[in-house]
């Protein structure tokens, strides 16, 4: 077991409560640097809350969190921004700025590392080396020709790759992707997972992905964490997950039916 200083992400007895709903219930989890982890489980199980915790985008009601070796409760606003900036987060719906160009959206990835004026200069008057860097990243994700396109003219799959490029432009130590295959068509899903896992491997990034598709999860992510009712259901290497495990994870019991 790695210690807090070595772990990329470490949660200890973390509970997240929204009003009277317990989203995560006493969860403990350690992810080592460079690990590639899939979070699986039914909708509403707490996967997204878990990912948001790992990006310091969600406050825990109780428990201890350390991200990239830094205890969260000790971070001031400035250090918090630095930690967030070192973790690339790819939201399910990409959250790009629709009226800006692809180049500018990718440049937004560095906001956490820049002062206000520097970021203003960079986004609206980008220098050649910045454009070259962004172009290289776009080439890597396969949409180099869209460098100057407005984001709202792109397809969903292309927007996703802009979001990935933006996360990479952060020069992150970890990548988190929330349901990256939930809103792309099946033929693209495999390519997206392949891209994320190759990128993580190449750049030795810690990767956290939430998803439903057990076939893709097993194929691309060596470690799977099952989440159900806000608790960790099973945390094991992908090959140790049986079909019965998945069935049980996704099985609707009486309480689910009553709730929905």
């Amino acid at each position: 077991m790695s210690t807090a200083a070595q772990a990329a992400f470490r949660l200890r007895d973390v509970t997240v409560r929204f009003a009277d709903l317990v989203a995560l219930d006493n969860v403990s989890l350690t992810i080592a640097p460079g690990e590639r982890v899939g979070f699986v489980g039914p909708s509403g199980a707490g996967k997204t809350t878990l990912l948001r915790l790992l990006n310091a985008n969600q406050q825990a009601t109780s428990g201890k969190i350390s991200l990239l070796g830094q205890a969260l409760e000790q971070l001031d606003q400035k250090n918090l921004r630095q930690v967030r900036s070192a973790i690339g987060f790819i939201p399910q719906h990409y959250h790009l700025v629709p009226s800006l160009r692809v180049l500018q959206n990718v440049l937004l990835g560095r906001l956490g590392q820049q002062g206000f004026w520097a970021s203003l200069r960079s986004v609206f008057f980008s220098r050649e080396f910045e454009q070259t860097k962004v172009h290289a990243l776009l080439e890597r994700v396969g949409i180099a020709e869209k460098l100057f396109a407005k984001v709202d003219t792109l397809s969903g799959g292309q927007q996703q790759r802009v979001a990935i490029a933006r996360a990479l432009y952060q020069a992150p130590q970890a990548l988190l992707a929330d349901e990256p295959v939930a809103s792309v068509d099946p033929s693209r899903a495999e390519a997206t997972m392949a891209l994320l896992s190759t990128l993580a491997e190449e750049q030795q990034l810690t990767l956290g992905v939430s998803l439903h598709d057990q076939r893709l999860a097993r194929a691309f992510l060596p470690r799977l964490v099952g989440v159900r009712h806000g608790k960790i259901f099973k945390d094991a290497p992908a090959q140790d997950w049986t079909d019965t495990d998945f069935e049980e994870l996704y099985h609707l019991d009486q309480s689910d039916l009553v709730e929905s």
Partner: protein
């Protein structure tokens, strides 16, 4: 009783109520349609409207006070009206951006500091700014003009500030609503990258609301042209100033020339802003 209530219904009773209020109001202020008839002023009014068919192309006075050309004077008045409106709108854009930011719930929520004293401060400044905006908006620019002309004398600045005050407040209100209704996701995405509050505002919120804000700004520019022209009656060298001079001398053909000039710039501005707005919105949807 029950059937009567059924027949009345909310719409009919509202209609009846308004009619009744109108009748009571007319009776209380002693509106008398008979006053309209048999007045000498009708003749003058007729003359005024007859002049509409032949707007002046030269000074009506054979020995005009000004030795310039009438048409170039109209051109100058149009030019000044445009300048005053542009200056006022420019100033109110700055004011509106500041008001809009402070007055928006979202902008403050974006700060999302868990510290309680800060929350109290942010909420109270938001409500204070909203109150100030409402007050500034509810006073017409003509009232502001009277105030500032008293205070500053007949300076261009007085007229421009008079327009900019209520316009800033209106822009601020519209702007804060645009920010509050803008999709939340973009800003949140930037926060997740480690962006600061100011960065979230400038890069995440401004670009999403800017097309709408700009479209509204163009509409306000049109209103600004009218306001700038009207402030001429109070001494600003815009169309209204020349119009009031000609009116005073009963040079109705000149008056109509100025009115047509005002109409023309507003129509042109409307066509232009319509075209720009169309481009903004179609671009947005593409």
């Amino acid at each position: 009783m029950n059937r009567a209530a059924h027949w009345l219904g909310p719409r009919r009773s509202a209609l009846l109520g308004i009619l009744l209020a109108g009748m009571i109001g007319a009776w209380l202020i002693q509106l008398d349609p008979a006053q309209l008839f048999g007045r000498a002023q009708w003749h003058q009014l007729g003359e005024f409207f007859k002049a509409a068919l032949r707007p002046a192309l030269a000074y009506e006075d054979p020995n005009p006070a000004s030795d310039g050309v009438f048409l170039s004077e109209i051109g100058f008045a149009i030019y000044k009206t445009l300048l005053y409106a542009a200056a006022a709108i420019g100033l109110s854009l700055i004011g509106g951006l500041v008001f809009g930011l402070i007055g928006s719930t979202r902008a403050w929520l974006a700060l999302a500091s868990p510290a309680k004293p800060f929350r109290v401060l942010s909420m109270s400044s938001m409500f204070l700014v909203r109150l100030v905006m409402t007050i500034l908006r509810s006073v017409h620019e003509i009232i502001w003009a009277i105030l500032f002309l008293q205070a500053l004398g007949n300076l261009p600045l007085a007229a421009v500030i008079a327009i900019a005050i209520p316009y800033s407040a209106t822009l601020g209100k519209v702007f804060s609503e645009l920010i509050d209704e803008a999709p939340r996701a973009t800003a949140e995405g930037l926060r997740a990258n480690g962006a600061s509050v100011l960065q979230v505002y400038v890069f995440g919120l401004l670009p999403t609301v800017l097309p709408d804000l700009f479209a509204y700004l163009l509409y306000r520019f049109e209103c600004g042209l009218r306001s700038a022209a009207v402030l001429g009656f109070f001494g600003a060298p815009t169309l209204g100033y020349y119009l009031s001079l000609s009116w005073g001398e009963r040079h109705f053909h000149e008056v109509w020339a100025y009115l047509y000039a005002l109409l023309a710039i507003i129509v042109v501005c409307d066509l232009w802003s319509g075209a720009v707005r169309q481009r903004l919105t179609t671009h947005h949807a593409a």
